[in-house]
């Protein structure tokens, strides 16, 4: 007689589903529900319908925060993904790479808040290393209030992000380059190809799939940036580095508008989901070279 295993698979899935429900599903549903209310976190909930969503689309600071995060994503695409790709190419062309791989990857391992605090000291306009260094080499005209000047604050945050995550993407691309059969590279070298040509004409095309994933990670991660901006500028000066996450944290925790902040969070979630869907539609299928 065949045993009845109808319940068994579901029981095996139950613990994982429980964790998923507690940590993701319930908070998601709770936030969605709160987005239709006005609540200060401790008093009574008041149902407001879609008023929070209408307000969000008229909130100039919130709308501008998407523009700021777009600039940040484009900048970090260059400073993280492109830089990571170039670093991986340079490192993979060398015979002994361990030291370089570890050195470039160390910033990735440090907590973001710690890095942000360290860099806030470096960029401090009064005591910081950068302005002091510029002074020492006679370039005091280049000194700036890096995190207090609307023209440089977002760029400074992007550069710091690049400093941190270029090593992460370098590691990803390096792993991709390591999968390329060595005989292909050797035969190109025998045919007289230089390292730059090998990198540009062979290695980069052969890791296109990895590049597409890296771009998706950079875009979705960039839109959710919080720690760096919060510690370095907290959206300032004058909201010029405000990004959606810092604005919604301020709305919920400083202004105690939990309902409105929940609506902002739902909109952000929808934006990220749409980007993911758009990415999967745009990505060309199965045109990767198999090797």
């Amino acid at each position: 007689m065949k045993p009845n295993r109808g319940w068994t698979p579901y029981l095996f899935v139950l613990p994982a589903f429980t964790v998923f429900a507690i940590s993701i599903l319930l908070p998601l549903l709770g936030t969605f529900g709160l987005s239709f209310t006005r609540w200060d976190g401790s008093g009574a909930l008041k149902f407001k319908g879609v008023a929070n969503y209408i307000r969000a689309f008229h909130d100039s600071v919130y709308i501008a925060s998407y523009w700021h995060v777009l600039i940040y994503v484009v900048a970090t695409m260059v400073l993280e993904v492109v830089a990571g790709l170039l670093l991986a190419g340079a490192v993979s062309a060398r015979p002994r790479t361990t030291f370089y791989r570890v050195a470039f990857f160390i910033p990735v391992m440090l907590p973001l808040v710690v890095i942000a605090v360290l860099w806030s000291f470096v960029l401090n306009p009064d005591f910081g290393l950068l302005n002091a260094g510029l002074d020492a080499i006679g370039l005091d005209s280049w000194k700036r209030v890096w995190l207090g000047d609307p023209n440089t604050a977002l760029l400074a945050i992007s550069v710091i992000s690049g400093w941190i995550f270029a090593g992460f993407y370098m590691a990803i691309f390096y792993a991709g380059f390591a999968r390329i059969p060595k005989d292909i590279i050797e035969s190109a070298r025998l045919d007289g190809a230089g390292e730059w040509m090998i990198f540009r004409r062979m290695k980069v095309p052969l890791v296109r799939g990895i590049t597409e994933v890296a771009v998706l990670l950079c875009v979705t991660g960039g839109i959710q940036v919080f720690d760096l901006v919060f510690v370095l500028t907290n959206g300032g000066p004058y909201n010029t580095t405000e990004v959606p996450t810092t604005y919604l944290v301020k709305t919920v925790f400083r202004d105690q508008e939990v309902g409105y902040g929940s609506a902002l969070a739902v909109i952000l979630t929808v934006v990220i989901a749409l980007i993911g869907l758009l990415y999967s539609r745009l990505r060309r299928k199965s045109s990767d070279v198999e090797f």
């Binding site: 319930l26 008093g43 300032g236 925790f253």
Partner: protein, 430 residues
């Protein structure tokens, strides 16, 4: 087969729901506490009182517990910034909500009262003789709708202008009595290569407080309150002219270039290391100096009178703070008893010896640090007390005004543009 699969799914979901219900614990919705006989814990939530004051708070705990056998006092001290944002609301809406909590007067206290968290305790305090232990005027700012809902702990002056006495003496300067005299001091300092003001306005409230006081002096206290209560615009010509005082400070190069990119603590460091002659900040600088620069020679003067200003030119920017009994607690009587212990002469004298201020007669008799005593005298004798934007009013409105102040002080916007933008943000809230 299909029914069996459906039944399996329903069973799995039901099991998850049961598991989740078991994990959720008490609902605690709205911060209700249960008054079961076994729950003899008086929970008190407040901001960190400082290392010197903690032993005195422990003395209050020990004294109360000795007088109330079986009862335990449990403190929950939190960092100021955390407490004032997410900390207190989380505690109030969670399980085991505090029976007593620290709060600031003004909009915050009114919000707690509107949400049903502030018990009326005036009659009980009178009956226990607690009210009589306090100096005249101590209970100002502790009432909502005519009912006393807060036991006052202190009155903080939120902004005066602290100055480096050594720099002032060396430059032959004395504290000004008018804004014009202050302008002259700023020019003289600048000519001598000294930055007049240092401030860390990254979080917007330091300059927001300073300019809030300046604005109220110029447009008048009622116009200031009306604009922050959203009943009149703050981008009127009068307000623009008032905001130009901050523009003067930027245009004169009278404040550190980094004003909007460094924190308040970094601002204090600039002042204590002699990088500037003055810093406009609140009474807590006395405690900061104790930790960071105990031998630093400083003094303060209130905002000088502004010629042509419609407000009271002797006003003080300040805020009361104190302890509130959670109206949803079943231990209101025990909480008021705790207040009676707290307000006793020995305890208040101990607080003053530990460097804290006291609004009781016993505390006044003990005597504070001279700088702090003069500040307490300033606020107690003030003909008008003006609330800072972020304590007395809606936080989004305060943020809009404080952002405008930072933009003008940083030279990023004209007064008109900054206030117009602020008003647009405020209009979106209505």
């Amino acid at each position: 087969m299909r029914m069996s699969r459906l039944a399996s799914v329903v069973a799995a979901l039901s099991a998850s729901a049961l598991l989740l219900a078991g994990c959720s614990g008490s609902s605690g919705g709205g911060g209700e506490t249960s008054a079961s006989p076994s729950d003899q814990i008086l929970r008190i939530a407040m901001t960190e009182p400082g290392a010197d004051a903690i032993p005195v708070w422990n003395q209050v705990k020990t004294t109360y517990e000795a007088a109330h056998p079986g009862w335990t006092v449990q403190y929950n001290f939190q960092n100021d910034d955390i407490y004032s944002t997410v900390g207190l609301p989380s505690l109030l809406s969670g399980g085991n909500a505090p029976d007593i909590f620290f709060e600031w007067s003004g909009n915050r206290l009114q919000t707690r009262h509107a949400d049903g968290y502030a018990a009326s305790i005036g009659d009980q305090l009178k009956a226990k003789g607690v009210t009589d232990l306090y100096i005249d005027g101590a209970f100002g700012g502790t009432s909502v709708d005519g009912k006393t809902v807060m036991l006052p702990l202190g009155k903080d002056v939120s902004n005066v202008i602290w100055y480096n006495k050594d720099i002032f003496d060396k430059q032959g300067l004395t504290p000004p009595t008018t804004w014009a005299e202050l302008d002259a001091i700023n020019s003289k300092l600048k000519a001598a290569g000294i930055t007049p003001y240092a401030m860390g306005n990254k979080d917007l409230w330091p300059a927001g407080n300073w300019n809030g006081h300046v604005l109220s002096r110029i447009v008048g206290e009622q116009a200031y309150a009306d604009a922050l209560n959203m009943t009149s615009p703050l981008d009127s010509p009068e307000w623009v002219a008032a905001m130009d005082k901050m523009k003067e400070i930027h245009d004169g190069g009278w404040i550190n270039d980094s004003v909007n990119s460094v924190s308040d603590n970094e601002g204090y460091t600039l002042f204590f290391t002699g990088k500037a002659a003055m810093t406009p900040i609140g009474s807590w600088l006395v405690d900061v100096r104790k930790d960071q620069a105990p031998t630093f020679n400083m003094d303060w003067f209130n905002l000088p009178a502004i010629d042509g200003g419609k407000g009271n030119q002797q006003s003080v920017l300040g805020v009361s703070s104190g302890l509130v009994v959670n109206a949803k607690s079943a231990k209101i009587d025990q909480a008021v008893d705790f207040f009676a212990t707290l307000a006793s002469s020995d305890i208040q004298a101990a607080f003053v010896k530990a460097g804290s201020s006291s609004l009781t007669k016993a505390g006044a008799a003990t005597g504070l640090n001279p700088l702090s005593q003069r500040l307490l005298n300033l606020i107690e004798t003030a003909p008008e007390i003006v609330s800072p934007p972020d304590t007395g009013y809606n936080l989004k409105v305060a943020d809009a005004l404080n952002t405008a102040t930072s933009a003008v002080l940083g030279g990023a916007m004209s007064s008109q543009d900054a206030l117009t933008q602020a008003q647009q943000k405020i209009d979106a809230l209505k």
